[in-house]
Symmetry: C2
Subunit: 266 residues, 2 copies
């Protein structure tokens, strides 16, 4: 049996990435893990994000995953080393920061790249350093409440409008050449974010770019590549409530059944 691809996030926002992976690798088994017992990660300390990410990585390894996608910008920015340490050298890790930065370097060389994300993501400086290393200029802003607002269903209407106006209304992104939505929740309000960007600026498709990178990684792994029977996708959360169950549908784009794995009790 083909081993599953593991994908994790602090909550259900990473389902936007899981959905893109399922689209390009429709026949692959996936194990998604949303750490709903501990979300949101965006306001937590780097040490704590590493602690949680490490524990989830062990769980995904124990679930048989042979490739792990860190579908959370706060974890990709603060805990990538902890994830790699936890998984060991034989399990490749795909994060959501470097593929997007490399895409920007290839398509907007020398450009000015806007990034919004959680406080943990922006304060880590990871986007700023990666963009600079690729000769790109970073314009960054933390937009802390945005992910929780989207998760609460405020992805249209006056609440998200007021939040975006509070965070971006000073015109910080008036001069950017491309925009990175540095949180897996933000694709749901991409259209509203565009109103704060110069006309025609590309909003990079993080889920699609990351999914392409996952497909590439799979293609060089003998134990994963090649045809195989269609396997089930599993969606695990560390704390199950009705609100997450209904939100999951919004982020994955189709019905998903959540299973509760209480790894916080171990």
């Amino acid at each position: 049996m083909r081993p599953p691809i593991g994908i994790f996030d602090s909550g259900i926002g990473g389902l936007t990435v899981a959905r893109a992976v399922a689209d390009v690798l429709p026949e692959y088994p996936l194990v998604y893990f949303g750490d709903t017992a501990h979300l949101p990660y965006g306001e937590k300390s780097p040490e704590l994000i590493r602690h949680f990410s490490s524990r989830i990585s062990h769980h995904l390894r124990d679930e048989g995953c042979r490739l792990v996608v860190v579908a959370c910008n706060s974890a990709s920015s603060n805990a990538l080393d902890a994830v790699r340490d936890a998984l060991g050298p034989r399990i490749p890790v795909v994060d959501v920061v470097s593929p997007v930065v490399e895409f920007a370097a290839a398509h907007v060389p020398g450009g000015r790249i806007g990034v919004i994300g959680t406080r943990a993501t922006i304060e880590s400086g990871v986007y700023q350093r990666a963009l600079a290393a690729h000769g790109l200029q970073a314009v960054v802003r933390a937009t802390p409440l945005l992910a929780s607002a989207i998760e609460e269903g405020f992805h249209t209407g006056s609440v998200s409008d007021a939040l975006l106006a509070a965070y971006l209304g000073d015109g910080i992104f008036n001069e950017v050449d491309a925009m990175v939505l540095g949180c897996t929740h933000y694709p749901l309000i991409a259209d509203q974010i565009r109103a704060f960007l110069p006309p025609g600026v590309a909003v990079l498709d993080t889920p699609g770019i990351v999914a392409a990178r996952v497909k590439e990684a799979v293609s060089v792994m003998p134990e994963l590549r090649g045809p195989g029977p269609v396997h089930a996708r599993r969606f695990l959360v560390s704390d199950l409530t009705a609100s997450f169950a209904s939100g999951a549908r919004t982020f994955f784009g189709r019905e998903v059944e959540l299973e509760e794995h209480r790894i916080w009790d171990i």
Copy 2:
């Protein structure tokens, strides 16, 4: 040495209660615990809220507390039994729900009482049952994102206005006789909430009512009552970030120094 009063919340919102307790018992030592590693509790399952509350209770007991205030509505509504079990019969527990319901019964007998709170608080049905048991009528609504918005500093301006309009704009509280702010964050936006209430309706002062109950409890405990030297107040959090440090000042009303106690690693 007089043993300290323990006060806990999912985060720093409970400092509104700690402040009121410090005001009525200025010479008493306090140990505050904010579970910033796990906040917010309002969207978590009852089981998980009980798990966290129980662990914190053990920690406060180990810190020498001989009275514990559950300064969190989500925990008071879902975890009071777990807290009592954890502390044992010799440590009295004061919650934030029953003193306020009893105050309402005494001052607005037979009245119609509005309550807003997190999803965990409202869905527990605890306010509804307690108000009904006292012959009061409950009008309740969950306002999930409000606590996080206030914690993020949106306690004035267009974001909280838009949120309140989304949650309360249908006039649900047009006929209430008194209003309970069923989350320790909400006192910071009491004035904005008043705009959605009939003119002159009393917004019950949860921190003040709870502090009075704490003072009453202390007065019958020989090991706590009576004069004593002024002792230090300590403010513990399970995850320390700059953002919590600055927020703590807003909620407590004066400078506080946070200490990190990583009880999640035990």
